[in-house]
């Protein structure tokens, strides 16, 4: 008798064992089928979620136009904002002493300008706005009024010095312009996940704005004549966050690169609180001394 034939196939015990075996195999197969179905469902669902909207649009015909920078803004910067001077108080709220450049990494060439600061000469030359240029204006105590000038241009007005900055998201190839205090600013949104300027990469409603400004007139980082040159480049990052009591704070990180007058980038971060309206808006002209 072979070993195989020794198994009691027709006995009651054998039948019970076969039944168990059958149910086990059947259950496993059913489990596998259900897993496959589940996998398919999950993958289909995930694919649907991950498919960019443009694919659906293509199926219906021409792709829709890309949303404008205004329409696709990941954060809302518009409104009235007031500077809160918790830092560098004696360099911002009053005019520091001539020759005081503490905290600014200046070159020897810049030091000569620092020591030669003459506000009366700036007045006479019509240069009262030298300390209100793009590299310094966010550090000046005052208010910002931020609005959309058009779908591609964010406009920032300051009441201190009555300056206007235009952040262009879609800069046309502009002809060579004469340098100005506020220079030429190119903006882009930054979105979570590194999706610079890419709305498809947006996550939750969060993000920031980066602005690069060049083509400025030479100016002062501080009221007392600490200089930046006409070749300086200003990179700014705008972030917002909540404050207690439903408030909002705007943080502007400013990086000034100027190999002529700075030995390393000059980095400051300034903060503003959002205000309900413009009732405290108080435009004042530039001043060389205050």
């Amino acid at each position: 008798m072979s070993a195989y034939s020794a198994v009691p196939l027709l006995s009651h015990e054998g039948t019970k064992a076969r039944k168990h075996e059958f149910f086990f195999v059947f259950s496993c197969l059913r489990g596998v089928r259900l897993i496959v179905v589940a996998l398919g469902t999950v993958v289909s669902f995930a694919t649907l979620l991950a498919t960019p909207p443009v694919v659906h649009a293509q199926n219906r015909g021409a792709p829709p136009p890309a949303p404008t920078p205004k329409a696709s803004a990941p954060i809302d910067l518009t409104g009235y904002w007031v500077a809160v001077v918790n830092e560098d108080w004696r360099y911002r709220m009053v005019t520091p002493a001539k020759g005081d450049y503490r905290g600014v990494p200046i070159t020897r060439e810049a030091l000569q300008i620092v020591n030669a600061w003459d506000p009366a000469a700036d007045d006479a030359a019509g240069n009262q706005c030298k300390s209100y240029g793009a590299a310094a204006i966010m550090r000046v105590p005052g208010r910002l009024h931020i609005t959309w000038q058009d779908d591609n241009t964010l406009r920032v007005d300051t009441d201190a010095g009555t300056q206007t900055r235009l952040f262009r998201f879609a800069p046309a190839s502009a002809p060579a312009e004469k340098p100005t205090w506020q220079g030429r600013s190119v903006a882009q949104w930054e979105r979570p996940g590194g999706g610079r300027g890419n709305p498809a990469a947006s996550g939750p409603r969060a993000g920031s704005m980066t602005v690069v400004t060049t083509n400025m007139r030479a100016g002062y980082l501080r009221k007392n004549g600490v200089p930046y040159s006409e070749n300086a480049k200003v990179t700014e990052h705008f972030d917002v966050g909540p404050l207690p009591d439903n408030g909002q704070v705007l943080v502007v990180t400013t990086v000034v690169d100027d190999p002529r007058y700075l030995t390393q980038p000059f980095i400051v971060s300034s903060h503003f609180k959002k205000e309900a309206d413009g009732s405290k808006w108080d435009p004042t002209p530039c001043s060389s001394t205050w």
Binding site: I35, V42, V84, E87, V104, I267, V268, S270
Partner: protein, 302 residues
Amino acid sequence: MGSNTVLVNVVTLRTALALLVLLWTPLRLYAQAELVGSWAPRNTEDISRDSFPVDYLGLPLNDEGRTRALTYNESQLAMIERQCEGWPPFYFVQGPFGLKIWSDTEPVKGGTISFTIGAWEDRAPITIWMDGRPHPSKYAEHTREGFTTGHWEGDTLVAFTTHMKAGFIRKNGPPSSDQATMTSRFFRHGDILTVLAVIEDPIYLAEPHIVTKSFELSATPMSPVGPPCVSAFEGKRPGDSVPHFLPEKNPFVDELTKLFHLPREAVLGGVETLYPEYRKKIKDTYVRLEPCKTNCGAPPPR
């Protein structure tokens, strides 16, 4: 049969959940920013490394906070029991040092359990718990480093600190109570890390104190710890009185007014002095300073 059906359903459910987690996790990580590394200070903005004894400029102190601050005598730091007391977590955005940040990860899914901002000699490490644990009971022990939890909002890390010991908002005496809290937001832009800290204190502040500071990513590794603090005799013996100034007797209260022509009310801090209107208020009374002769800035390299 019934038990097999349950088993199959459990397997199916677990598989589906595991897949969802796998699919979701990379998306979630993708939306975050890498904060781990050495972040060097540039110190081109306000830092409290050289404060004058009475310099509360820019602080929204209330009357109680100001009164308490004016009693502070820095000789307290000579007392042996206070030499290694250290400063509260606020100091990480106010001091002159950089940030060494590292993370601990959960070994299976790779999720971040915590970030740690390394210590300095006079500040304890700050651990930011990212695993969803709750803050302790309000009756729990308060420590020098406090208790901090964090979460991501987009690619911004938001941290919330409670359970700090009473201490100081600045090193020269403005106090913080054990009810103070700090909400920090870490904004990374390329190699620049800007930290926004909002300090609330119902006892000593009239409104939240806002501090921002930027750091630059450094290829040079920073130490995760400071040198050990070792107490030694510095002229104060156990049992000696705690150095302090009685009300109206602080001899330094007008030092900044004399040196920089600043109004006393601004030197002593207060909400009104933080806003542009105050600048207009003092414009006509401010006396311009003589040119700076000493300590005017770091000499430029030759």
